[in-house]
């Protein structure tokens, strides 16, 4: 059973669910089976969130086992580190260089974030590809494009063709932003052009 496992992680409200849905739709357009596990309810109130997407010829279950993810797509650095243990030894992490400090409890200095997180991420992960999707989205003038930029970067290593992605984007987004989404998607693709 050849299954590709993609784990998305980030902070509630960052658009992780949308990204996973577009990925799952692209897989359906490519004629693949897909199962995906989403998070709803309490954890969406600013807590850490993760969605699991599994694609292949036949996918029996929806949860990625720890140590079984081929790809980790993280919208935030701390949440990249938190879910790093999901990666396989040959896994790849796509990470947004974004820091959202968790809720501060007091004014003690340095109460919030992991120090030297970039170094730790690169040291611990089998492989990190930095995708500054927020900066690229700002360049495009729409911060909501972060999720399609990340998908573009990831897409080079997945079995779906560009037309599958385009069909998924057209299915998921309203007509007036579809072109912008496709531009953002290609920006993500180009960002990793030198990566093999």
């Amino acid at each position: 059973m050849e299954i590709t496992n993609i784990l998305f992680s980030g902070v509630g409200g960052q658009g992780i669910l949308t990204s996973s849905r577009v990925l799952a739709l692209a897989a359906v357009h490519a004629g693949l089976d897909v199962k995906m596990s989403e998070v709803h309810g309490m954890s969406q109130r600013g807590g850490n969130v993760d969605t699991h997407v599994r694609i292949g010829k036949e996918v029996p279950s929806s949860l990625i086992p720890a140590g079984g993810a081929h790809f980790l797509v993280s919208f935030e650095k701390l949440e990249a580190l938190r879910y790093m243990a999901y990666l396989r030894p040959d896994g790849v992490a796509y990470v947004c260089p974004l820091e959202i400090p968790p809720l501060t409890q007091n004014l003690k200095k340095d109460a919030g974030y992991v120090k030297e997180i970039d170094r730790i991420l690169e040291e611990k992960a089998p492989r990190v590809i930095w995708v500054d999707a927020p900066a690229m989205a700002r360049e495009l003038g729409d911060l909501r494009m972060v999720n399609v930029i990340l998908l573009g970067a990831l897409s080079r290593r997945l079995p779906m063709k560009e037309e599958d992605w385009e069909a998924a984007i057209r299915e998921r987004f309203p007509a007036k932003v579809q072109e912008a989404c496709m531009r953002a998607f290609r920006m993500g693709v180009d960002h990793v052009a030198s990566d093999h």
Partner: protein
């Protein structure tokens, strides 16, 4: 046609295909999206009920009319609806009646982890359990046929990972089905003891007939023939883990888990050397197999709490998980990121006051339960829907002088309409002098912003009759009812002090809409004059994502801060200012 659907959306699709006329329920994770998805089908009358019991009873009325009805709730919701659930089992149905119980193994969004399969058994109704979205669709559809064929409500038992699993489904057309119309039948539908004694036998006969189907059906309870070394009995979401962990095993997958096909299991067991049950939560299937005198293992191989997953099932079946963690984070300490009240939430100021006034807070179920977490930590107890009111009454009466004038019940508006009203009546007629605070934000917020009786909208967003919380309290007979603005901390503190001192029951209604539910535009962020800050930390202790520590001083995130002004009001130095208002 292949279509991507959430498990909950697939239940709605299946019900629609079965020509369901009506859907009701009360929001509750992980069940909420079923009714929201059903509301997308305009042929179906869909409505939120104030609570699960009412939703169930309306659905029963629809069934009596001869139409098909669906009622949805989370696992603890079925406790609320347990009264009609158990009794309707004796009445049976006219139009098919399907009840969804969405259980939450692992308690992702719930106060307990109860396994509602036991409720189907106790109520003696049929139960079916899907494992993925496609099964959710066809089982929801077929459940209506089962309901009519066996004259029983059918429990469609889901779990979080089935409800919130997205997968490929094959939607079908809507069935041609027409109502038989109302059938008057007094001995069947009036549960007087003399009638119930007769119905009791019908219930037993029905289960015997249903068991024949369960025993013989390859569709509901399929067998996947494999190795004779091991036979695995499983159901629901666990089936996928079993298939993946041990594709070579023989598997009996139970889609109908009440009544259980004991003889089918016995036959299956006779063809394998070792019989194992893989099921989430309680050993429901395993106990029945053991009771029938078969040798079986299962529970001792798995944890007694939480969700199952592939590595756990691999460990149970193979002795060790095939998937192993290789990334070592040893030595790195990760700060947790628990959910918090949103920036701009109308509850934040209230809980800041409760904490600073050192009140004894009997809390309730909703976003505001997050007021129990640090740094607010301003809740003493939270049990179940509506319990804040009764617990406040009891604690205040027997807590001695220390609790007098200090004890409050805190309940959201949706929860108040759900089950707070009878408890408030108890406070009134039994002469409580406790104070009830109702947080009126006009939405059922925690589950994603559903309308409730105080919203003035229905599930499709159309205008609807709107109940006013303060008016309801006055009509019940509370003499001291006042409304406050929860963003005005000084006035709210004064109101709370006065009502706590009053020797009779009083209600304080904090009125301000949920910023998410009402889709309010974000205001401009506050500004901090760092030179005036004495680093007392009061602003940080309101627990807001919009303000955090930076180099030992508070710092505002202008993208998150909504300018609600709660942090500005607790700053004794007046170092925080609202745009356009100047220093607070």
């Amino acid at each position: 046609m292949r279509k991507l659907m959430l498990g909950n959306e697939a239940v709605a699709r299946g019900a629609w295909e079965a020509c369901v006329a009506f859907g009701s329920g009360y929001p509750g994770t992980p069940s909420t999206e079923i009714l929201e998805a059903l509301a997308q089908y305009e042929e179906v009358a869909v409505q939120w009920a104030p609570n699960e019991k009412v939703g169930y009873e309306v659905a029963m009325g629809v069934s009596l009319s001869g139409h098909r009805a669906l009622v949805t709730m989370k696992h603890v919701g079925l406790n609320v609806a347990a009264d009609p659930f158990f009794s309707s089992s004796y009445m049976g149905v006219n139009g098919g009646l399907v009840v969804v119980s969405a259980d939450d193994p692992g308690m992702a969004s719930s106060q307990d982890e109860q396994d509602n399969r036991f409720l189907a058994k106790a109520a003696k109704v049929l139960m079916v359990e899907p494992c993925d979205p496609e099964e959710s669709r066809w089982m929801a559809r077929e459940a209506f046929t089962l309901s009519e064929r066996f004259d029983s409500p059918v429990l469609l038992r889901m779990t979080t990972r089935v409800c919130h699993q997205t997968g490929v489904v094959n939607p079908q057309e809507r069935e041609a089905w027409s109502s038989k119309g109302y059938l008057k039948d007094i001995p069947k539908n009036v549960l007087l003891p003399s009638h119930s004694k007769v119905r009791r036998f019908k219930v037993e006969e029905r289960l015997l007939r249903a068991r024949e189907l369960s025993e013989s059906s390859d569709r509901w309870n399929p067998i996947f023939k494999g190795s004779a070394d091991i036979g695995i009995v499983t159901s629901g979401v666990s089936f996928g883990y079993v298939r993946e962990a041990m594709p070579e095993a023989s598997i009996l997958k139970l889609g109908m888990t009440h009544p259980l096909p004991i003889e089918r299991i016995r036959l299956f067991a006779s063809g394998v050397r070792r019989l194992v049950v893989i099921e989430e939560l309680e050993p429901y299937i395993e106990a029945e197999i053991r009771n029938a005198g078969m040798e079986v293992t299962g529970r001792e191989l798995l944890p007694f709490t939480g969700e199952l997953n592939l590595p756990l099932v691999e460990k149970a079946l193979l002795g060790a998980p095939r998937h192993k963690v290789t990334v070592d984070l040893g030595g790195v300490e990760l700060p947790t990121r628990p959910p918090t009240l949103c920036p701009g939430c109308s509850h934040r100021g209230m809980f800041t006051l409760f904490r600073d006034m050192k009140l004894r807070v009997m809390g309730d179920i909703g976003c505001y339960t997050l007021g129990a977490l640090k740094p607010l930590a301003a809740m003493d107890a939270c049990m179940c829907m509506g319990a804040s009111v009764g617990m406040a009454e009891g604690l205040e009466k027997f807590g001695g002088p220390k609790e007098k004038g200090k004890t409050i019940g805190v309940i959201g508006d949706s929860t108040f309409f759900h089950s707070g009203i009878p408890a408030l009546i108890d406070m009134i007629v039994n002469r409580s002098s406790a104070t009830l605070v109702i947080l009126d934000n006009r939405w059922t917020a925690m589950t994603g912003g559903q309308p409730h009786p105080g919203t003035g909208k229905d599930i499709r967003g159309n205008d609807a009759p709107q109940l006013n919380v303060a008016q309801v309290c006055r009509a019940l007979g509370v003499r001291r009812v006042r409304e406050v603005d929860p963003f005005d901390l000084e006035a709210t503190r004064k109101a709370l002090e006065e009502e706590l001192a009053a020797p009779e029951v009083s209600v304080v209604v904090a009125v301000a809409p949920c910023i998410l539910g009402a889709k309010l535009k974000k205001g401009e962020a506050v500004q901090i004059a760092i030179e005036e800050c004495d680093r007392c930390g009061a602003c940080i202790r309101v627990g807001c994502m919009g303000i955090h520590e930076k180099d030992g001083f508070p710092d505002v995130d202008p993208d998150l801060c909504t300018g609600c002004g709660v942090c500005a009001q607790v700053c004794e130095k007046g170092a925080i200012s609202l745009p356009g208002v100047g220093r607070a």
